[in-house]
């Protein structure tokens, strides 16, 4: 049984989960949860929050798999999974924002890419990469939340703990800077 699941892509696993298949669900978890955890950790330093978000995300996948299987694109892309997790993460931030601030991951000092890091993914050409690299860290951070993580300006504000107006200003500045760098 496990063998047969190994050959399936995530879209097919999801369709099986929609039929109540626990083994398919476990396989989906084994395959995607490490990735999701790494990505969440890059955005939230609090281990408990990451664990909570992870659990809520996969429970949401289990419970809504019937609808999810219909609307998510097939194949191995798992952007939909990140969308669920990102919203749950923002909710966790909302939850804590009223009591104590969740310590956000510190913005890294920009370090020059090492030679081995230069082999890069599709969807990011060298020009765009250089342009992003030249952006000030605080602009890039906003851009990452909105473009890569798919958050709205309001959600970005909660994630980064800054006013919505600042998020919008920075996004505009980032856009202008990128346009200039790419032209």
């Amino acid at each position: 049984m496990k063998r047969s699941l190994d050959g399936l892509d995530e879209g097919e696993l999801l369709r099986r989960v929609a039929r109540g298949d626990r083994l398919a669900f476990d396989a989906l978890y084994r395959r995607t949860a490490p990735w999701l955890t790494a990505r969440l950790r890059r955005r939230c330093a609090d281990e408990d929050v990451v664990a909570e978000v992870l659990q809520e995300t996969y429970l949401a996948v289990w419970r809504s798999a019937g609808s999810q299987a219909q609307s998510s694109t097939s194949g191995s892309a798992v952007g939909w999974l990140w969308t669920i997790a990102a919203h749950r993460l923002i909710d966790a931030f909302r939850h804590r924002a009223r009591r104590e601030r969740v310590p956000p991951v510190q913005t890294f000092e920009t370090v020059a890419p090492a030679a081995e890091d230069e082999a890069l993914a599709d969807g990011m050409d060298a020009n765009l990469e250089r342009a992003l690299h030249a952006l000030p860290a605080e602009l890039r951070q906003v851009l990452r939340a909105m473009v890569l993580d798919g958050l709205t300006a309001r959600e970005t504000a909660l994630l980064l703990g800054m006013p919505e107006g600042t998020v919008k200003t920075r996004a505009r500045r980032a856009r202008i800077a990128l346009r200039e760098a790419l032209s």
Partner: protein
């Protein structure tokens, strides 16, 4: 062939290594989202701490799944509930047409009841899909961005798709040319929507149905023959009317695309 990040880079990413610059992280994340092979590399590279966390969460999920409901499989027909709501009206329209066909077949001295009734047959269900009296969620629907003409058109087309086959069967059974029932049906539907921009769709439907019955059906039953507007010579007239009325609907709603209190809604 796409370029994959090196396994070393993936493992540095997974372990939260702060030495990887942000642009690289961005690229790695964008790639991982769509590349199952690299996610496998990442899965094999996670540190024992993360493994623990993953196992802990897996236990929590298992407990919650055991106590909660299983996933419910969805059918393709997601919005059938709306259709079910107007089902009685569709059944009424169908019944009306079948009765007309039966009468026509039994009493061949009468003018064609099928042709006389057909134009107003879809009006009842069309009124029902857009009536605040029939739609319990009307108040909510009125506040939605996807309201107004596109939604009305969608629902009207739904009604027509349900009604036209019935008309086709009765029309074929009584041996009339398809144009004679189809064009009046389309004309009256367009007319309802056009008048609906002023009166509201449900009132417009009722008004047109009454006007047709009083002005055409009753006199022709009294005369014992079909009126001139239901003969082959009037087909171009029906076609023109339909096109003109559809244009009226489009123009009127284009001018006030999503007006809050569009009469269409009332």
């Amino acid at each position: 062939m796409t370029t994959h990040p090196t396994p070393t880079l993936i493992s540095r990413y997974a372990s939260g290594d702060a030495g990887v610059d942000e642009t690289t992280i961005w690229a790695v994340e964008a790639h991982l989202e769509s590349c199952a092979a690299c996610r496998t590399v990442l899965t094999d590279a996670v540190d024992p701490g993360t493994r623990d966390l993953l196992d802990r969460v897996a236990d929590g999920i298992a407990t919650a799944i055991a106590t909660g409901p299983p996933p419910v499989r969805r059918t393709r027909l997601r919005r059938t509930g709306v259709a079910a709501r107007i089902l009685p009206w569709l059944v009424t329209a169908t019944g009306l047409m079948l009765a007309a066909a039966l009468f026509e077949w039994t009493f061949d001295s009468l003018p064609s009841l099928v042709l006389l009734v057909a134009p107003v047959a879809p009006l009842l269900p069309v009124a029902a899909v857009w009536s605040r009296r029939v739609d319990p969620a009307w108040e909510l629907t009125a506040t939605m961005p996807r309201t107004g003409l596109p939604l009305l058109m969608r629902r009207t087309l739904g009604v027509l798709t349900a009604v036209i086959p019935v008309l086709a069967v009765t029309g074929w059974f009584t041996g009339h040319s398809p144009g004679l029932w189809l064009l009046p049906v389309l004309g009256f539907t367009a007319g309802t929507l056009a008048l609906g921009t002023v009166l509201g769709v449900d009132r417009a439907a009722v008004a047109l149905a009454i006007a047709w019955c009083a002005g055409v059906v009753a006199p022709s039953l009294a005369d014992g023959r079909l009126p001139a507007i239901l003969t082959d010579s009037s087909l171009p007239g029906w076609a023109l009317t339909t096109v003109a009325l559809t244009a009226v609907v489009l123009v009127r709603t284009r001018r006030r695309p999503h007006q809050p209190h569009q009469n269409l809604m009332h």
